[in-house]
């Protein structure tokens, strides 16, 4: 067991850190949260900048424009960018973390050669067409159907929870191509978002934002050449996507959580009560100390996962453990902040001197989704119990 970074890791970290220090102050101001075209430009502009500096797709193969580096360097990249407050991956999320890795693992050479470099260069934005109103935790029950008509699939149905649909060029789309089979009747398509028959209705979330949409497909004709893998083999391919999501996909969330703990301490030092700061309260100190210990442990576990992924090539089901633990830790963290703020928690804006109070309130609301999206905590516990512990399946 070795926790030392190699010379080249350290050099990479230093070089990245210095680049970030140079570049971040020069970024243009962030656009308004609901101005999606502007956000697309901003996020893809940053992606382009990363690409040009050699920081796009740290562990993607060089042949597609990636850096071809190790997972350890990917970890360093995520640590440094998050700590430096670099832009969030934003509209590039689905392309970089879901669709891209899936295309890399399962698509044809032409598909890879076409999409992967464009994703890395910030020229393509993707969205995800998986969930449906009737197919959430039970995703395999999806009913958005597609039938073959010559060289096309004709797609009709509805998707939901599609992030960035308004500005996406492509959709990783799961469709039902065989109604007689559940898991073996699903096909994975790359659907161009400018085809006729696609209608997008933004959904308003708990925080009032509109990054998710419902997407309606009405006899949308997708060329058969846009299929990834075999017809009716889409479920297996989607599971590949999930294995990435459940594998190393949460690392930046962990770095974010760690940062939030420190920010909670800063906030506690600003809150005064009974003539002292809240940080002088031993109960709060213990609570935060416990969370930091849990966070450090989780981080250490992630380094173990990474070492295993580096050895075996594929991230394991350990991602369910990470997601279960960090999502509940994060919610607990924001709940502590709510109690700490007392009536200063009544606004999502910072209250007077309490810099950061508003973002904790916002995160409390936003983090309600952490135990829901990408597999609820209930589903994650089933996965852990059945796949890791070998307990019998529910019937």
């Amino acid at each position: 067991m070795d926790l030392r970074y190699s010379e080249s890791d350290l050099a990479f970290r230093a070089e990245l850190r210095s680049w970030l220090a140079d570049v971040l102050p020069t970024l243009p101001p962030k656009p308004a949260p609901d101005d999606w075209p502007a956000r697309r430009d901003w996020d893809t502009g940053w992606q382009r900048q990363l690409f040009e500096a050699g920081y796009a797709g740290i562990n993607w193969p060089k042949e597609y424009g990636g850096r071809g580096a190790t997972l350890t360097e990917q970890l360093i990249y995520l640590e440094e960018t998050t700590r430096a407050g670099a832009p969030y991956i934003g509209v590039n999320f689905v392309g970089m973390l879901h669709a891209g890795p899936t295309v890399m693992a399962e698509a044809s050479e032409e598909q890879k050669a076409f999409h992967l470099p464009r994703i890395l260069r910030g020229e393509e934005v993707w969205c995800q067409g998986f969930s449906e109103p009737g197919a959430g935790s039970d995703l395999a029950s999806l009913s958005c159907k597609a039938f073959r008509d010559g060289d096309h699939y004709v797609v009709t149905g509805q998707k939901i929870w599609t992030s960035f649909a308004q500005v996406a060029d492509w959709c990783e789309l799961l469709v039902r191509t065989d109604a007689s089979s559940k898991h073996k009747g699903i096909t994975w398509l790359i659907c161009p978002m400018d085809l006729p028959g696609i209608e997008i209705r933004p959904l308003r979330t708990i925080v009032g934002s509109s990054e998710f949409s419902e997407v309606f497909f009405d006899e949308v004709r997708v060329p058969v050449s846009q299929r990834v893998g075999d017809e009716n083999d889409g479920w297996r391919i989607a599971m590949v996507t999930f294995s990435f999501e459940r594998g190393t996909g949460f690392i930046s969330d962990l770095v974010e959580t760690d940062k939030m703990i420190s920010e909670l301490v800063e906030l506690a030092k600003r809150v005064t009560r009974k003539g002292a700061t809240a940080w002088d309260d031993v109960a709060l100190r213990r609570e935060i100390g416990q969370m930091q210990a849990q966070m450090d442990a989780l981080w250490a576990m992630t380094k173990r996962n990474l070492a295993q992924a580096e050895r075996n090539g594929v991230p394991g089901v350990g991602g369910s453990v990470v997601k279960l633990y960090y999502s509940e830790l994060f919610q607990r963290l924001t709940d502590v902040a709510m109690r700490l703020l007392e009536r200063a928690s009544l606004s999502r804006d910072d209250v007077g001197q309490l810099v950061g109070s508003g973002s904790f309130v916002e995160e409390r609301l936003r983090s309600t989704s952490f135990t829901i999206a990408a597999g609820t905590s209930q589903i994650q516990r089933n996965i852990v119990a059945e796949r890791i512990l070998g307990l019998p399946k529910d019937r």
Partner: protein
């Protein structure tokens, strides 16, 4: 001893419930977001139902009921998410002219509340201030306020004081002001109890309807047990909240502050934990603006912080019970 509702209390409870469902359906509640959290016409209807004058003596133009009854009424107001500074205006009835009749909307704050957060800044007329010396009134128009946007709860707009609170005009001495504070906490606990029950109902109804894996999700033990815990928290809190109302009216049955501590703490716990669970049971739908679960969650946090949060009351309980 017969700690069950009397027939009159059942009638009061049912009356309020049917009033709320008739006059404060969720569309009406949601609509106040556009009007600073209050609809003046509906506010007067609330007054006509006796919401504010409930505990005021009949010869002072009130209904002449007790805190035990008021707690039941506020439970219903909480259940329906009726917006506005209901508790403060209720407390001000008899102290601030027009509060009882719904002509004047009263919000309030503790003078030592370092947050300086004022609820309903654009719509309330009067601010009631509680401190260790008594209760004081100030016109909201005389306050220096900075906007805070967006609020945690879209139906509870807030602003922040940018100058120290004026002293205000005294409306009550220290002793009765302290009692007022406890009554406020008890009524807020009533609202929290109402939310914790409403959110349980909402989760259960959804879990019976929503089908995944070819069965209603309410059949899955994990969700079932989450909802069993919701019911448990609500019912335990109900005991404390009703007991607090009775004890405020009749301090001979026990120490008032301790009864209020148990009520506010357990009702806050029930409302916050249950509304979070309700969102979880709803899955993705719980994360939408469209489903009411988020309104319950946000209101639960607002009320949990009002009249002393759970940490305050836990510490108070330790002092009250063991020193």
């Amino acid at each position: 001893m017969d700690f069950e509702l009397t027939d009159d209390q059942i009638a009061l409870q049912e009356g309020l419930r049917s009033f709320c469902s008739g006059r404060f359906p969720i569309e009406v509640v949601r609509a106040v977001e556009a009007t600073g959290g209050i609809d003046r016409d509906r506010w007067r209807e609330l007054a006509d139902m006796g919401t504010f004058a409930l505990r005021l003596a009949e010869d002072a133009g009130g209904v002449g009921l007790g805190t035990a009854d008021a707690v039941l009424a506020f439970e219903e107001l909480g259940r329906a998410l009726v917006p506005g500074p209901l508790v403060w205006t209720h407390l001000a009835a008899g102290l601030v002219d027009g509060a009882a009749t719904g002509e004047v909307v009263v919000t309030g704050i503790e003078r030592d509340d370092a947050s300086g957060v004022i609820e309903f800044p654009a719509t309330a007329d009067v601010l009631l201030i509680l401190d260790t010396d008594g209760a004081w009134r100030v016109d909201v128009a005389d306050l220096a306020l900075a906007p805070l946007d967006p609020p945690l709860d879209p139906l509870t707009p807030v602003a922040r004081l940018t100058a120290p609170l004026p002293q205000g005009a005294k409306v009550l001495d220290a002793g009765p002001a302290a009692e007022l504070r406890l009554t406020g906490a008890a009524l807020t606990a009533g609202q929290l109890l109402g939310i914790s029950t409403a959110t349980t109902d909402l989760a259960v109804a959804f879990a019976k309807e929503r089908v995944q894996f070819d069965r209603p999700i309410g059949q899955f033990q994990a969700l079932k047990h989450l909802m069993a815990d919701m019911l448990t928290r609500s019912e335990v809190a109900r005991g404390a909240v009703y007991a607090a109302g009775v004890t405020v009216d009749d301090p001979e049955v026990g120490p008032v502050a301790r009864a209020v501590a148990a009520a506010k703490l357990t009702a806050g716990e029930a409302a916050v934990e249950n509304t979070k669970t309700c969102v979880q049971v709803h899955g993705g739908m719980g994360y939408t603006w469209e489903v009411d679960a988020h309104l319950q969650l946000k209101r639960a946090y607002v009320l949990d912080a009002a009249f002393g949060g759970r940490e305050h009351w836990a510490e108070a309980m330790a002092d009250l019970a063991f020193t």
